[in-house]
């Protein structure tokens, strides 16, 4: 999930009797799958939680450009380079759709950026892991975008209109991302012994961080009942994680690669795979800022923001000057 560990505002799901009349109407609309639009009445906690969730989702798209951007200049062929460039550009676009959705809730773009740069808002833990070789770019597309799709497809039905529309657009574009990743993995897995080793190594390192993308286990996932009731979360973390494992197992098998989990096996009774949980201590540690690349990612974003300040200000000053000149000319006529 691109938004993990989003703290739901409020004190939990209210009973019908505890709700105000506005809250009852609101919940009825959500329950009957009507979309909530920016100017509609909504509980303050719904608004606050959505800002956190969509903001975190947007930040993940933006920071998510960094591990892949790392390989643009080193892609093995011109075609791979062009494809990777297009993919990274898409991620920027996805970030922009989401920021705009968040802004409809009354927060400004600059506020969201500052929350990210000050560390008050998070992005997905997955982007704090490095991309060490070309096979990692394949594995990121295959696993990380695969996990993101798993999370984003149900969110197309989320109750908040602008968020839902952003998700629909993103999902349309995202499938190319996963396929280009799998395409790289196929090439590597069918290549030389050394290439196959690189592919296996990438899977070994990125498997558990990918499972972490769905957030903590349901039993440790506080407040998610309220987010489910508001339909800003559609499935639980463990449901999505299970779906991801079940989908990925045959894909790994086709590649001839081994998922690094001794406990991974089909459970006939459940009709699903049993698998090992990731190391949750590591997950919380990475979220706290202690992953291999946290400092690097934040420094890169801060540098981009500071180095870009003169461009943002310069273009605005130019636009103001142009507008003033136009106004003076109109007045003179």
């Amino acid at each position: 999930m691109y938004a993990q560990l989003v703290k739901t505002a409020g004190s939990g799901v209210k009973s019908r009797e505890e709700m105000s009349e506005n809250e009852q109407d609101f919940q009825d609309r959500v329950d009957s799958d009507q979309k909530i639009e920016p100017k509609d009445w909504m509980p303050d906690d719904y608004r606050a939680t959505l800002i956190r969730q969509i903001g975190q989702h947007a930040h993940s798209e933006i920071v998510g450009q960094l591990p892949e951007g790392n390989w643009i200049t080193r892609a093995p062929t011109l075609e791979r380079k062009a494809i990777l460039l297009a993919k990274v550009q898409d991620e920027a676009g996805h970030g922009l759709y989401l920021y705009c959705a968040a802004e409809t809730l009354g927060v400004t773009r600059d506020e969201l950026t500052e929350e990210l740069l000050s560390g008050r808002m998070k992005y997905s833990s997955i982007f704090n892991y490095p991309t060490l070789n070309w096979a990692d770019i394949g594995a990121v597309g295959w696993l990380v975008d695969g996990a993101a799709i798993m999370n984003q497809v149900p969110l197309q039905r989320t109750s908040y209109g602008p968020y839902s529309r952003a998700m629909i657009r993103i999902c349309k574009e995202e499938s190319f991302h996963q396929r280009q990743g799998y395409d790289i993995m196929m090439k590597m897995a069918q290549g030389t012994e050394a290439q196959k080793k690189m592919a296996q190594d990438a899977l070994n390192r990125l498997w558990y961080p990918s499972l972490m993308m769905f957030g903590p286990s349901d039993k440790d996932s506080v407040h998610s009942a309220q987010s489910l009731a508001w339909k800003i979360k559609i499935d639980t973390n463990d449901e999505l994680r299970q779906r991801f494992v079940d989908q990925t197992v045959p894909q790994a098998k086709y590649l001839g690669l081994t998922i690094p989990d001794e406990n991974l096996k089909w459970n006939e009774e459940r009709g699903a795979h049993d698998y090992s949980d990731p190391n949750w201590a590591e997950f919380f540690d990475v979220i706290k800022g202690n992953g291999p690349c946290n400092t690097d990612r934040m420094n890169t974003r801060i540098k981009a923001w500071e180095d870009g300040a003169w461009v943002r200000e310069g273009l605005m000053a130019h636009a103001d000057k142009k507008a003033a000149r136009k106004q003076a000319m109109t007045a003179a006529e």
């Binding site: 898409d90 922009l96 705009c100 773009r109 200000e313 605005m316 130019h318 636009a319 142009k322």
Partner: protein, 94 residues
Amino acid sequence: MSKEWPLWEIFIRGQHGMSHRHVGSLHAPDEEMAIKNARDVYTRRNEGVSIWVVEAKHIAASSPEEKGPLYEPSNSKVYRHPTFFDIPDEVGHM
């Protein structure tokens, strides 16, 4: 002194003679940059052949509270729908 770029609403007309349709919004310093940015953000997959940009502050919108008085009158005029009238089969296609 930093000042945030204004917000623009973006409308795009697709290939097949449809009307411009709202696709989303973005920030840009002026209309020229808004069109350029809209090209990059909203037409990466050949989605359109024409872009309109309107600064968001210039859009007036109806408010949800007016929903009743605004749309209620049309509810009682079911005869505006062709299915209101029963036309015998032998008349043929109409």
